[in-house]
Subunit: 198 residues, 2 copies
Amino acid sequence: MTNTEIALAPWRSPLARALHRNRSLIYARYLQLATVRSDGSPAIRTVVFRGFRDRTNQLCIITDRRSEKIPQLQAHPRAEACWYFPNSREQFRIAGSITLATAESGDAADQAERSRLWQNLSDPARLQWAWPEPGATRSNDPTAFTPPPPDPIAPPASFVVLWLNPDWVDWLELRGNPQTRTRFDRTAADWQTLDLNP
Amino acid sequence: MTNTEIALAPWRSPLARALHRNRSLIYARYLQLATVRSDGSPAIRTVVFRGFRDRTNQLCIITDRRSEKIPQLQAHPRAEACWYFPNSREQFRIAGSITLATAESGDAADQAERSRLWQNLSDPARLQWAWPEPGATRSNDPTAFTPPPPDPIAPPASFVVLWLNPDWVDWLELRGNPQTRTRFDRTAADWQTLDLNP
């Protein structure tokens, strides 16, 4: 993957402001990510925002390779995220395509970023990637959830990074009457900003 | 639509408990609803939980007929909701099919419920259904967002009720180590409960 974008998208500053205004809430860094199942139905779950990839507008998310979203995204890389900020009462809907970095991804920059994100995790957080298969029938093995600590340097095969590369953002501010709604569309060269009815 | 279900599904009591434990947060009644666009991509937005339909396990949501989710749901009635409760740190993912009640829906019980939900709204909340088309280019008309108050008794054509009828619920409790994850699958006769790896 090449990182050719360096200009900050126009929705980045309202999003940075929202993160700042809601910084007292740990869950203001949680967002919901929608994907599509193999039968064409929607799937959704809460994920944690891990920052933007350097010099890009791509949102970084980490996950387990064995989770259902991986085959979903491999078959249909289009995703949409919804991020609600309770303190400032605003919502960002962020649609785009997702790139994955698994253990097999060939790109050296992707692998460096994957290692960096793994190394940034706490020891207890890293343990989860050594747990039994997420979503499978609960393991009866009493030691299954107390595995030996994984290597803190080299990420295990179960550790996957997702980057959501937005091309459409819908920002709704509930404060004010009427409310304010702004859409950002990525064009070939830049972003177009449009005021919408709420 | 006939309401034949009267048994409370087994996920109803943990969900009721979550609503109770998070009742201090007004936004604990907000959830994210994922649908599928006509091109097969996912769409997602925050909606407000308006309670369960009487004697059913169906979640009630109200919306504007002119919103994008209406044609999406008419073409593909399958949806999935994600409901994160910050105080108790638990997530419910709720998948099922959606039934709509528009002004033209023939069912008398649906229309009675649609009227009841309209009448329950506050005067300022009702105004939104008389605003210009949601998501269209912002209206230049300075009076567009101060329309005459709509009839508080008879719902306007723009007022639509959605019922999400779940057949699959995935409940994740982040508290505790390891976390607890339970799945509920609707069967022909009842619900099956399964303990999963988190």
